[in-house]
């Protein structure tokens, strides 16, 4: 919801905006969010792997055992695959986002 506020209230401060970093301080403050690739892969692979591979062993015996096991495995496969496609598509971006100048100011101000 942060982005909502960003988008819609920016008119307020456009004229009064000053860049937060004065040009004298040229050392950039590095953003806190440097994302690794390995960590999410490990986490999610283990998570969906637990559900899809280990989960079936814990399903209680009953008439619906087969259905529940199939559901667990299918859910794990579908959701893991979907997440994997999303992260692989962003792994090596070939181009970057094109932002409006007001957005650039506010992203710099708010997120960094």
């Amino acid at each position: 919801m942060l982005t909502a506020l960003l988008q819609d209230v920016h008119l307020l401060g456009e004229s009064a905006f000053r860049p937060s970093i004065p040009p004298e301080q040229s050392i950039a403050h590095p953003a806190m969010t440097a994302h690794s690739f390995a960590l999410p892969v490990i986490i999610f692979t283990t998570f969906w792997g637990l559900i899809g591979i280990a989960g079936p062993w814990f399903v209680p015996k009953g008439p619906n055992r087969g259905v529940i096991i199939t559901m667990l495995v299918a859910t794990a496969v579908c959701c893991y695959l979907f997440w994997l496609i999303a992260i692989l598509a962003q792994l090596n971006p070939l181009f970057g986002p094109q932002l409006k100048n007001e957005t650039i100011w506010y992203v710099r101000f708010l997120w960094e």
Partner: protein, 856 residues
């Protein structure tokens, strides 16, 4: 796996029902709902069957019960809706029940008739009283009227009209008085004027209270009229006109005393009638109340009885005419239950010889039974709507439970909308035992039946909404964006870097409207967002460029995996039906064809994602061009995706081209070779002979597996085990059609999966537009009255979200997900040519008794 994977195995059983026990055995069978009866008397019309008389008797009883129920509901007596359903009445009680009901009906009809007569009588008397009362005022009023005729000038001087004065004048004055309906008054008057040419005086007044019209029963307004006429001829005319207009005419009293007498007499009579009427109504109510206690169970009992006789009509008699033979389809696991039901029935009827059964082998295809519970029923219905599965083939519903909501969610992908849908479905599920929901009308009933489907759809939509990072068209920044804007500023880099790269400073930003981040610059892209799409894309103007590429590739990947899964399910079918050659000659070429072309496409997509980054973005080849060039072999060798690509592609293409003729010709040629090489295909392997189903003597054992080799779509020519005809041409033609369908279908179906991209794009855009047009307008107003403006704006936003985005888009995505399942997924393995197993069960008869029995 559970029985949802495959339909259950059935066997054909013959029941020998002794004539004394047949009814009770069927009653026991109907209570349990185990078996499906086959109609053995198909060429006999329904009027010639054995138990027609009993069926007629049941229908007569039903008619009486319907009449009873009608009367009971008309008298507003509540009917006890009992939950327990009583068993069908034993034969000995049927006769007395019939007598009872008939007597009740006769009594009821008589009492009702009497009541109606009394009421009509009462109404007449009441009308007479009113008429007398009002015409009295006419007399007083007449004094004020101007005399229209100069023949009677003395009228105005008289205080009271004296009839004798009229008579002295020689003309006999007659009076006709009565009541007429409001709508007919004017026409009546006009007619009188025209017909009697002024020899009548008509006075009328409106009756204040509305009375009931005894013929139609409606309550309408009446007018009381008084016609005075001179002469007999006019009198006749007037009377005829009154008849014509359906007036209620009552004798007019000549003198005031007569009037008083009549009025007193009427009053007493009315009082008497009221008392009698009340007593009659009380008695009627009593009778109906007593009947109401047992009418519900009677209705159920009669319905069960009728169902039993219908089933009995389907059985045939054996040669001795003492025993009924029925043929039933029974699931093999229920055979002991069937035996027990027969024993129970025999015991209840107290017959000495019990009924018994035995299983008989058959060549026919049994019906398909898949046991579902309330959760799986919805998904099974989706599959059955396309076609009920053939006997013992793989049931796609088991996988549809997850893949259908998942594909829906890929097209619907919004966290907020998905959550609302999930809440709605949760509401339905938690209240599923609420009686009003389970008996609701059409549209709500559809939602109610699909509540578990909606629940899963909502859940998966929440997940895909999180991955698309879309919540009511806004993104959420949970982990911090992977794109860093500050790093684009020249102030963040050293001098040498600033010389090499195009960087920003404040003036660049002030002067250019939009600027694009460059991932080549170190520090700008800090790694992929760990869960889903990076939130910065929601703020970007080139958002769709990135998303389109992502979603198209995702659709293609999901589609190819879905279809390959379908082909693999076909392998299970071939294994089960003991047609291993199908695996090698049909399934393996199909998989090779699909994977060599489209599996390679997936490989190229993933390779490009992994191997090419911002540095090499200039040389990154377009996958589409590469894919097309794989088939076209262009003269100019473009820079490929990876080294050695040309060779790999040539090998794959060769594999594909080799698998096509195997797909076309492999199976027909193999079958031809089998047919020529062996005497009788299929049977000699198992070494059994087949007998017809109703011979009792030589029942050779036919292994159950041969019964299951029933229908396979490829095998029309060779299914007869007596191998009369091996139609090579037909098999070849069928296989050719199947292969062409498959090969062309691979391409078109893969493209068809692009609807996953298209619909999710449409949903995202609609959602965005709704936000921009409504909420943004509301949130931009920053004065104090803006708060009050925001409330209706939010309400409007909510309503439009529900109607357009949830209902319309939801239905659309639902439909497309169904289409993807029915066409693209199921035509890889599903035949769907079976019939559903409908057991003889009393619970399948309609449970509501009041509204369904409407005999028009």
């Amino acid at each position: 796996m559970g029985s949802l994977f495959r339909s259950e195995s059935m066997c054909l059983a013959q029941l020998f029902l002794q004539s004394g026990t047949a009814y009770e055995c069927l009653s026991a069978l109907g209570e349990k709902g185990l078996v499906q009866f086959r109609d053995l008397n198909q060429n006999v019309s329904s009027f010639q069957r054995k138990f027609v008389g009993e069926v007629k008797r049941c229908e007569e009883l039903e008619r009486i019960l319907v009449y009873l129920v009608q009367e009971i509901t008309r008298a507003d007596i509540p009917l006890p809706e009992g939950e327990a359903s009583p068993p069908a009445p034993p034969l000995k009680h049927v006769l007395e029940m019939q007598e009872q009901l008939q007597k009740l009906e006769v009594e009821l009809r008589e009492v009702t008739k009497n009541k109606e007569k009394l009421r009509k009588n009462l109404l007449e008397l009441v009308e007479y009283t009113h008429m007398l009362r009002i015409t009295k005022t006419f007399l007083k009023r007449n004094v004020e009227f101007e005399p229209t005729y100069e023949e009677f000038p003395a009228l105005e001087n008289d205080s009271l009209l004296d009839y004798s004065c009229m008579q002295r004048l020689g003309a006999k004055l007659g009076f006709v008085s009565g009541l007429i309906q409001q709508g007919r008054v004017e026409a009546f008057e006009r007619m009188l004027w025209r017909a009697c040419k002024g020899y009548t005086i008509v006075t009328y007044a409106e009756l204040d209270e509305s009375l009931e019209d005894p013929e139609t029963g409606e309550v309408i307004k009446w007018y009381v009229f008084l016609i005075s006429f001179w002469g007999d001829q006019i009198g006749h005319k007037v009377k005829k006109i009154c008849d014509c207009y359906h007036c209620h005419v009552y004798p007019y009293p000549n003198t005031a005393e007569e009037r008083r007498e009549i009025q007193e007499g009427l009053n007493t009579r009315i009082q008497d009638l009221y008392t009698v009427l009340h007593k009659t109504e009380d008695y009627l109510r009593q009778v109906l109340c007593k009947a109401a206690e047992s009418v519900c169970s009677r209705v159920v009992q009669v319905r069960k009885m009728k169902a039993i006789y219908h089933m009995l009509n389907m059985c045939s008699f054996d040669v001795t005419n003492k025993c009924l033979i029925a043929e039933v389809w029974c699931p093999e696991v229920d055979l002991p239950g069937l035996r027990r039901a027969l024993e129970e029935g025999s015991r209840e009827s107290g017959a000495t010889i019990p009924s018994f059964m035995n299983t008989i082998p058959t060549k026919e295809t049994p019906p398909t039974l898949i046991r579902t519970n309330k959760f799986t029923e919805g998904f099974q219905n989706i599959v059955d709507a396309y076609g009920v599965g053939s006997y013992r083939e793989v049931n796609p519903a088991l996988f549809t439970i997850i893949t259908f909501p998942f594909l829906f969610a890929v097209m619907f992908g919004d966290f907020g909308h998905g959550f609302v849908m999930f809440l709605f479905a949760l509401l339905l599920v938690l209240n599923e035992n609420h009686p009003r929901l389970s008996q609701s009308q059409e549209i709500l009933r559809m939602f109610f039946n699909g509540r578990y489907i909606l629940l899963l759809m909502g859940l998966f939509s929440v997940y895909t909404g999180l991955i698309y990072n879309d919540c009511f068209s806004k993104s959420v920044n949970l982990f911090g964006s992977g794109w860093n804007v500050s790093a684009m500023y020249s102030s963040s880099h050293s001098r040498e870097e600033q010389k090499r790269m195009v960087l920003w400073n404040d003036s660049t930003i002030r002067h250019s409207r939009t600027l694009q981040l460059d991932p080549n610059i170190p520090g700008v892209f800090r790694g992929p967002y760990p869960f889903g799409i990076d939130p910065i894309w929601n703020l970007a103007t080139n958002r769709l460029t990135f998303l389109n590429s992502f979603k198209m590739k995702m659709s293609v990947i999901l589609g190819i995996i879905h279809m390959t899964f379908g082909v693999i399910l076909g392998i299970f079918n071939h294994l089960h039906f003991r047609k291993k050659f199908n695996i090698y000659l049909v399934s393996v070429p199909e998989i090779l064809f699909m994977l060599c072309i489209f599996g390679y496409l997936i490989f190229m997509i993933i390779y490009k994602w992994l191997a090419y980054s911002a540095e090499t973005s200039r040389e990154a080849p377009s996958i589409l061009i590469e894919f097309i060039n794989m088939f076209l072999f262009p003269s100019s060798e473009t820079h490929g995706l990876y080294p050695g690509q040309a060779h790999v592609q040539r090998v794959l293409l060769a594999l594909t081209v080799l698998s096509v003729p195997v797909l076309f010709l492999g199976k027909p040629l193999f079958l031809l070779w089998l047919h020529n090489g062996r005497s009788c295909f299929g049977v000699s392997r198992s070494g059994y002979t087949l007998v017809r189903k109703d011979s009792e003597e030589e029942v050779s054992l036919l292994g159950s597996q041969d019964m299951e080799e029933g229908s396979n779509r490829m095998e029309e020519g060779c299914r007869e085990v007596t191998c009369e005809e091996f139609n090579f041409g037909e098999i070849l033609m069928t296989q050719t059609i199947h292969s062409i369908e498959y090969c062309l279908g691979c391409i078109s179906n893969t493209a068809s999966y692009l609807r996953l991209w298209a619909l999710s794009l449409a949903h995202a855009q609609l959602s965005d537009v709704l936000w921009a047009m409504l909420m943004r307008v509301g949130l931009r107003v920053d004065t104090t009255y803006g708060v009050f403006l925001l409330l209706p704006v939010m309400a409007f936003f909510a309503v439009l979200t529900i109607f357009i985005l949830l209902i319309m888009e939801g239905l659309s995505a639902f439909l497309h997900a169904i289409r993807l399942h029915w066409v693209e997924f199921q035509n890889k393995f599903y035949v769907g040519a079976g019939t559903k197993f409908v057991p003889f069960s009393f619970s399948l008869l309609s449970s509501k008794f009041s509204h369904d029995d409407n005999i028009a």
